[in-house]
Each structure stands twice: as structure tokens, then as C-alpha cells.
Point group: C2
């Protein structure tokens, strides 16, 4: 007997017919004697429909109300899946995030899990029931409903796997696993058999949006091995995200991540003295602008240039904040470019092995892709390039690092 957590995303539960197919799969697991918890997202485009409803009321919905509104999408799926299991003769029960004991911070729209009180979950599993948990949501101390942000059902699944000490955590999605690059951009891309947590995080936060980054972080923190596989092809293995990569796997480029659309803001001639960065980035954070890469150039005559990237949708807000920060940082020239993208090579051990960066830069040069900015981490090298050159950059790097070959 195993205790397993399944997670099914929106496209896997898009219609009642999809939901019945998921019920069939859960029924066979349950018949094996396994303890089964399934976490579900909202059906298909329901979350978008709920956003659209709110937009017809207001342009700035109260986050607390938005969270309660959005949480209903996952509730609907969970009840329908539970009904489908009953129809197959399987005892099942749907639980909201709150009923599943998921206690969160009171930061609406991007709440973090504080604690999972597993009494109800354990009780239902002990009664032999399949437990369906509405994903992406929890409850504050004051019994208000919170959500975790888009993709948050992954977080629910991995957190439950940790709290319930599950044997397996399987994320079923509409792709066959974690690819070496986005297959829509790069036809030679193929699913990886395995990937490390940190590599997955870099892939996730730099464009490969198969997994919610926070889910991967929780997986790493609690040592939960996560399998990502297709919900439409039961035979495919998918990709195992875990921490125990074999040694020879640890020293190569594992994948190419990319973002097609980012914007860049450069503040020129900023005085090079302590506190300047804080004066710039604190108000950006307060205004809710999420800053990605930050680069500060070497100082020339006590003046420096500061460059950072943001989502294009946040660009206007970012420019306003920078302008109103001139009181603190003095007059500065502000330049922006909304038509950029990023391409990254990701792999453990790149920092300790020379030549990865050089090969990346040469490949881009040979393909006439100009590099606008560079940033690196231990396991990632990212180049900011023109938006329209991102796809070509991904394909050429996929070739250059032989990613079409099996692991």
C-alpha cells in the first residue's frame, strides 16, 4: 500500500467527461489498496471566466474578495470529481483548502502555507475514502479564504505530500514532462527523465512554466520527489524532479529556458553611494512591481548605471515609481525597452566547469543574436536579447548543447 498524491491541472479536468476519466484512474489506484489524495485545479478556462466577471465590476478588485471568488473554481471541480468516484462505487469526499486544514498567511492573492492540520485528511483516508482537495487555496487564522497565485495547485499537492508523508507526488498536466526546451519553440525538444530541484526552479522561474516554482521549493525543502507526467498518456514516464541526480548527470546543460516578453529599465547617472539601490527597489516592491534581473555597472566618476527587468505589464508602473524616486536618488536619465526577452541555459555544475558561458555566447553570435544583458547563477546563464530573436536563440542553443540526445 502506498499513499499517493495526484494533481490534475485545468486542462485535465476541462469537462465532465475529462473528470470521469480522472475518476477512472483514481478508482484503479484505490482498488490497488493505495491511499489516494487528488488535488484539482479549476475546470479549463473557469479561472479566466471568474477574472472576467470581476473585471465587469471593477478594475481593481479587492484581493480578499478576488481570492474567495477564484476559490470557487477549484471547489466545483473537486465536488464533481468526488461525485464521479461515487458513481464508480468508490467512497470519496471533496475538501476545500480550509477543510483540508491548509492554514496560510493573510496575503491575499499570493498567500503562503503556514501549516497543514492533517486531522481531517487522515480521518478520511483512514475511512478508506479517496480525498479530493480543491487546489490553490487555504484559509487564514480569521477563516478568510486565500489563494496562492496562478499554478498554486502544484503547491497544494507538494505541501500535502510533505504533510501527509506521502510515498509519491504526481503532477499530471497537458505535457509529457519537463522538456529540454519549450517544444512549441524548439521542435527537437524532448522530455527529461529527471531534473534536480534547483535546475527545475531555474527552468520554472525563467520560462518553463510547467511547474509552480513554490511547489518545487517545498519539494526541495521537505525532500518530496515529484513526478510530472501527461494526464492524457498513462504509458509515458514523465520527469522525476528530485535531489538525487546520478553523478554524471550533474555537469551538463539540462535545458533551455526562455521568456518571450520582458521589459528593461535603465537608470543612468545614479550617484554611487550607499542606500541608492534601496531607495529605488523598496518603492518598486511597495508598488507591487516584481523585479527580475538587476545589473549595476562599474562606477565612473561616482555615477553608475542601474538596469533591471520587469514584466511588460508592469513597465508603466515601474517608470512612475522610478520618476517619483528622483527626490531620493537625484535627477537621472531613465531609458526603457519593452521589447526584450531572455534565453537561459540551465544545469547543475556549470559554475565549476568552464566553457558553458563561452559556448553560449559564441552560439548566439554565430546566429546574429545580440546580447543586451547577462546575468548568471550557479546553475544558470541568462542572456537578455531582442524579443523577436528569442525563439531562434532557443533552437540554436538546444543544438549547440546536444540536448536532442538522450540523457
Amino acid at each position: 500500500m502506498e499513499r499517493i498524491i495526484h494533481k490534475y491541472g485545468g486542462s485535465s479536468v476541462a469537462t465532465p467527461e475529462h473528470i470521469k476519466r480522472i475518476a477512472d484512474r483514481l478508482e484503479s489506484r484505490h482498488r490497488n489498496g493505495d491511499e489516494v489524495v487528488a488535488v484539482v485545479s479549476a475546470m479549463g478556462s473557469r479561472t479566466d471566466e471568474l477574472y472576467a466577471l470581476a473585471e465587469r465590476i471593477t478594475n481593481s478588485p479587492e484581493p480578499r474578495e478576488m481570492d474567495m471568488l477564484l476559490s470557487t473554481g477549484e471547489m466545483v471541480t473537486s465536488t464533481l470529481l468526488s461525485m464521479a468516484l461515487h458513481e464508480l462505487g468508490v467512497e470519496a469526499v471533496s475538501l476545500t483548502g480550509a477543510q483540508a486544514g491548509i492554514r496560510t498567511t493573510a496575503v491575499f492573492g499570493r498567500a503562503r502555507i503556514a501549516d497543514i492540520q492533517t486531522e481531517r485528511l487522515e480521518k478520511e483516508l483512514n475511512r478508506g475514502r479517496v480525498v479530493i482537495v480543491a487546489g490553490f487555496q487555504g484559509m487564514t487564522e480569521d477563516a478568510d479564504v486565500t489563494t496562492f497565485g496562478r499554478g498554486g495547485s502544484d503547491t497544494t499537492a507538494v505541501a500535502l505530500a510533505a504533510a501527509l508523508d506521502a510515498d509519491r507526488c504526481e503532477i499530471f498536466t497537458d505535457v509529457a514532462g519537463i522538456y529540454t526546451a519549450d517544444p512549441r519553440v524548439c521542435p527537437k525538444a524532448r522530455p527529461l527523465q529527471e531534473i534536480g530541484y534547483e535546475e527545475m526552479l531555474e527552468m520554472a522561474t525563467t520560462g518553463a512554466r510547467v511547474m509552480h516554482a513554490r511547489a518545487v521549493e517545498i519539494g526541495e525543502q521537505y525532500g518530496v520527489a515529484i513526478r510530472v507526467a501527461s494526464s492524457f498518456d498513462e504509458t509515458a514516464q514523465g520527469t522525476l524532479i528530485h535531489g538525487d541526480l546520478t553523478m554524471e548527470q550533474g555537469n551538463k546543460v539540462r535545458g533551455i529556458a526562455h521568456q518571450n516578453h520582458i521589459a528593461k529599465v535603465t537608470v543612468r547617472g545614479v550617484p554611487d553611494r550607499p542606500g541608492i539601490a534601496a531607495h529605488l527597489f523598496e518603492p518598486l516592491a511597495t508598488a507591487g512591481v516584481s523585479v527580475d534581473t538587476i545589473v549595476q555597472n562599474a562606477s565612473v566618476e561616482k555615477l553608475t548605471d542601474m538596469t533591471f527587468t520587469v514584466a511588460p505589464a508592469d513597465l508603466d508602473r515601474a517608470l512612475q515609481v522610478v520618476q517619483s524616486a528622483e527626490n531620493e536618488i537625484g535627477p537621472a536619465e531613465v531609458v526603457s525597452d519593452p521589447n526584450l526577452g531572455t534565453v537561459s541555459i540551465v544545469g547543475t555544475g556549470m559554475a565549476s566547469a568552464p566553457g558553458f558561458a563561452a559556448r553560449m555566447f559564441r552560439t548566439l553570435y554565430e546566429n546574429k543574436v545580440n546580447i543586451d544583458m547577462i546575468s548568471t547563477s550557479d546553475i544558470r546563464i541568462t542572456c537578455v536579447v531582442a524579443s523577436e530573436q528569442v525563439d531562434e536563440a532557443v533552437r540554436s542553443l538546444h543544438d549547440a548543447f546536444d540536448l536532442d540526445r538522450e540523457d
Copy 2:
């Protein structure tokens, strides 16, 4: 300053534009300094859509899951109305039935309110917020979501009015109040200025489905005066349901109620001995068949006839139950008629004033309406007639009892 409870039904909140109009009304009450609680139903046909979703999964949805599914409809409306108030600069908060402290029995689909824990409600009102409560739902001791059955938002509103000791409870609907008869059937029907609780109950349970009967019962029990008015015409007075009718109002026919479709089952030649009725009606109750009128004829040679009415949708089930009860009651001839309806005259004091029944029967006779069954209560006389004659019966009785004249 008054503390007021408003309730808005599905047609009053059918679209985001409707919801904004309701927000305008609540905003002006709030600006007056009143404490405002608004109870809302699901938007337009959302409840029907949720039923349809469940039907695509199973013909016999688990009641617990159905309740959680249906509860999302009211949650959506409550969050949107709260957002619309925020948009107008009014502090507001939406609460699920559970968050509003509504504790119920664990009878899914038709839970009854056990208790309302008003701490959260009082706290929000004290903070000056408009409180929006998702109608028709509550929570069991085990934190499971329950619903009260169709129309249950009325029950939420009246129960909150009682628990919060509100000054006013106003039910806004798509009609101008409680009519002397159904205006779709009887063009001369007009809204009543007032009606007693018991009269309203008879009107509600015998066909005038403007108010949920249980809401009226709670109103009577706790002495909550309930105003039913149009949500589309703010100038109209509507109808006040209360217990303090002036003396001369208490001795007349107040309205004509009707049901277009009922079915009748007659069991002929039943042995006339103790326990027979129990052997028949207990299994019907167990099978979930709601029996309306029951008539037992005088006994002839130790055999009697037993007749009862049910909803046409329950007729097949009722016949099955009756047939399988033959073990207990002996062989009997069972006759049924699915094409019947009822027409009732309703008014306090009819029992103590002779002549109402006679005038009713004569009116039906003069209009060639044959009476199939008769049943009476202190404040109601009901005739079962052919389904296709119901409308004509309503119109002729409305004329005969001068109901088109002002109160």
C-alpha cells in the same frame, strides 16, 4: 440608525450590471448611517448550470458534494457585490454561510439552521462594513458545507434578521410583493399591502412561490416582520408579512393559491385496521417521496380507500413503493392520475366564518370545474381539480371573492 437585512434573489443579481445597481442601493443605505447586511442568491441561472454540470457526471449525485457544488453560486455573487461596493468607496466584506457563523444540521440538501454565531457579523458591522452573506448555505459541526434547498436564501435573511435583532428584513425579488393570485394566471391580481405569517405559509406551500416557507416560519417564530418588494421598482411598497393584522383584515379571503401540476394516487380496498397508514406512508417517506394532501374515506365493510397527492416527478417512485407495500397492507387496487392541479382560497378566520367553502364550491360548479378532492385547514380550503382547469378556477375565484378591490 437602523440595522437592516436585505435579500436579493437570482434575477436581481443576474449580471455584473445588476450587481452594480444593487451596490448603489446598499451604498445609499450605508451612507444614511444604517448597518447593512445583504444576503444574495446565485446569479441568474447559475444554480441550474451547476445542476447541469453534476448531471453530466451522475444521475444520483452525493448530497454532500452537491451542497458544496451549489454553495459556490452564492459565493460568486457575494464576492462580486462586495467588489462593487469597494468600487463605490464603501467598505464591504463577503462571508460564506460558514464564515457568517450559520451552523446547521448535517442533512445535506435541506439542512436546518441550528444556531447562528454572530461574532464575526457583529465585528464587521462594528467596523462600519457592509456585510454580504452568501445565501442558502451553512456549515455543519464537522465543517461540511450544507444548503437549505431552493429558495433557501430567504431563510438565511430572516434567520440573520432574528439573530442580529435587525430593525428590518427586506426580501427583494422580481415581483412587486405577494399577490392576491398569480398575475401570470389572473390579470386582475394585485399586490397585498400586508399578510399574516400563517396566510403567507398557506400561499407559499400551495403554489405562490414568492417566499421560502421556512423563512416565513422563522419570521413567525422570532417575530421578524418581512417586507417583500420588487428589486426593480424602488417606489413600490411591496407586501409586509407580519403577525399584527388589523382586526377587520382577519376575516376574509386574502388570496388564491394554486398548483398546476400534481399527481394523485388512490389505493382502493385497503383493510381498515390500525397501522395501515403507517405501513403505507413510512416507506414513502424513506424513499424521499414528499406527500401533500392525504384523504381517507369512510370505511365500507372493513375496507377503505386511501388517496394522496405527490409531485408528478415522484409518481413512479410512489407507485413502486405502494406496490412493494402490498406485503403489509394486502392486495389492493392502485389507481393514479398524473394530470391534476389544486386551487385554494386562503384567509385567516375562514374556519370561524361560514359560507366561504360554499361560495368556493358554487363558483367552481358555475364554471364547470369538477372537484376531485377537497382538503381544508383553519385558514385554507383546497380543491383538487383537472390540471387544465386550474387557471380558469383561479380567475373565477378571484372574481367571486372580490380580490381585485383594495384591502
